[in-house]
Amino acid sequence: MEAYGINLDDVKNAGGKVNFVSFGEMASLMKDGRVDCAIFPSFPDENIMDVEVAFPCRCSISIKSMST
């Protein structure tokens, strides 16, 4: 994230929150609507698929989209 001009301190200073949790818990938090974005280390991933059962997701915010 720092390469893109933002780090986790920026998130917290702006009123956001950073959760260091297991991947399974990340999926649960996302399904419950308690996090806005979850960063998974792989794709396809059983945890992303778990969230997808609840509602559609988008993955990998692209470099292209960063410039828009």
Binding site: V35, D36, C37, P41, F43, R58, S60, I61
Partner: protein, 151 residues
Amino acid sequence: MYLGSDGITLFALDPSTRQPLQRRHHVKDWRRDHGGPFFPMAASVNGDQRSVPGVYRLLSRRIPFSNLKKIDGGTVDLGLTYPVWTYDAWVGRAIFEGKQYRNIRSIGKIAVHPFQLTVPAKSKIRTIMDLKDKNLAVGPRGVERSTISGG
């Protein structure tokens, strides 16, 4: 040889030395014991796990560098890993110090990025900067470093 610049890369033996892929060679899912991202790939290659006993062998963690060694040695046919580790294996540095692993070839990529920033499809988050004041789940501490570098 294309080593892959990012993401998760699928590797196989150098075609000039590799034997034809056969079921007895067992395409292996080297990730975790509960499945993982490589499971769909392996399933598409070998069919349903339940109907083809022994096709998979699910092993434990710290496997991307083991994959490279096993592919190079010809004990498995396909494997997945990350580009940084592949480069280390190719030039023989870091954990691969003492040997250059050159009997490997990239045959494809299963993920464009090493990390998947996942949001609900209806989310207004479109860019990295949109994350600034959001509630994020980033995984266990240190997972990024261990995923990318094996450290």
